[in-house]
């Protein structure tokens, strides 16, 4: 198991200008690790982060798109694995932060806790590559390759539940129109005419 915060710091260090879509508790933690206008925060309905990421990846095929999904969130929209594998965007990297719980609403266990092989599901769905990481060192070692190989790439990161210092659940920030305006402004130079 790794600390989520530590895995995020590795992703931040390797990010290299990628768009990052982060969901729920990951979004608050990611915001603290790497406050960057090319972050899009996906909340409001569980499960949509990877579908957002697919839309971004199709809309901007030259740009790397990283999704920081949750295990509970992915379970709510599992069909996304098939859709992404079928569309096969080579610029999409789908990380699932696996802590075995619905953390945002109180840390209740997910139904598949400890039994589900998320990377196995992604591999079976047809992702170009799928792996599971239990330890930070191996993840850090493989991260450059995960971000550079043709996607769609999937990696499940086994993290300790609730390992973060108390988070500032700033929903005003999360839902603000300013956030999306900031993102659109940051993405503008990346768009082709």
């Amino acid at each position: 198991m790794m600390q989520r915060m530590a895995s995020f710091e590795k992703i931040r260090d390797a990010r290299d200008g990628a768009i990052v879509v982060a969901t729920y508790t990951s979004a608050f933690e990611w915001r603290r690790v790497d406050p960057d206008p090319l972050n899009f925060v996906s909340v409001g309905a569980m499960g949509q982060a990877s579908s957002h990421g697919l839309g971004l990846a199709i809309g901007l095929p030259e740009q790397k798109v990283i999704v920081l999904d949750g295990d509970g969130s992915l379970l709510m929209n599992m069909s996304t694995l098939t859709t992404i594998a079928n569309e096969a965007p080579d610029n999409l990297v789908h990380f699932v932060i696996e802590n075995g719980s619905y953390e945002a609403n109180g840390g209740h266990p997910i139904p598949s806790q400890g039994r589900m092989d998320f990377a196995g599901m992604a591999r079976a769905a047809g992702y170009a590559h799928a792996a599971t990481y239990e330890g930070l060192n191996q993840f850090a070692a493989d991260l450059p390759e995960l971000l550079s190989r043709p996607g769609p790439v999937f990696a499940a990161l086994k993290v300790e539940a609730g390992d973060a210092p108390p988070l500032d659940y700033d929903y005003d920030w999360l839902h603000s129109a300013d956030r999306r305006r900031e993102f659109r402004k940051a993405v503008k130079p990346l768009l082709k005419d």
């Binding site: 569980m46 499960g47 949509q48 579908s51 839309g55 809309g59 929209n77 129109a177 999306r180």
Partner: protein
């Protein structure tokens, strides 16, 4: 099959209006009522068709595309509307434009009783989530209704569904 509508003809008319409005991304769950439109979108080099596994994915996908300046449309049968409400929170909460085209079952002339509950709930469900419904009953309504839906979504930034009724499409004998 009741009705005399020419699916190739009406699908082409919808497609040209969408393409002229800059819609490039056609996300869909396949249905008898949208298959011609999808075929046209697949064949045209201006547009991409994205096959979804569940309709709810398309809501988030179109919002993601919008963030990077791409316009999308979400095509589904009426039954698929039942999979969308929670995801449609995005439209109000995130102020995203959302253009849906719903091909109806469970209304005029439907012969399959299983299609009625969701078919009859389509407009109340969409309206409850803040999605405007523009219904097409006759062929001579289609062009203006399509233009209205496009304006609502992309000029005004609203959530809107173009509802192609079974009176317009014809009721299937299955």
């Amino acid at each position: 099959m009741t009705g005399t509508v020419n699916r190739e003809n009406f699908s082409r008319r919808i497609f040209e209006r969408l393409a002229d409005a800059g819609v490039t991304l056609f996300s869909y769950v396949p249905d008898f009522g949208n298959d011609e439109l999808v075929k046209i979108a697949e064949a045209d080099n201006r547009t991409t068709a994205v096959l979804l596994s569940s309709e709810q994915e398309g809501v988030a996908l179109c919002a993601g595309a919008d963030l990077v300046g791409a316009r999308g449309v979400l095509l589904m049968q009426s039954s698929g509307v039942g999979n969308c409400p929670n995801m449609l929170s995005l439209v109000r909460g995130g102020r995203f434009p959302m253009l849906m085209i719903v091909t109806m079952r469970g209304d005029y002339g439907e012969q399959n009783p299983w299609q009625y509950p969701m078919g009859q709930a389509v407009e109340p469900v969409l309206e409850a989530m803040g999605i405007q419904c523009i219904r097409v009953e006759r062929d001579d309504e289609l062009d203006q209704a399509t233009d209205s839906a496009i304006s609502s979504a992309f000029a005004a930034g609203q959530g809107v569904a173009l509802i192609l009724s079974q009176k317009f499409l014809g009721a299937k004998a299955f």
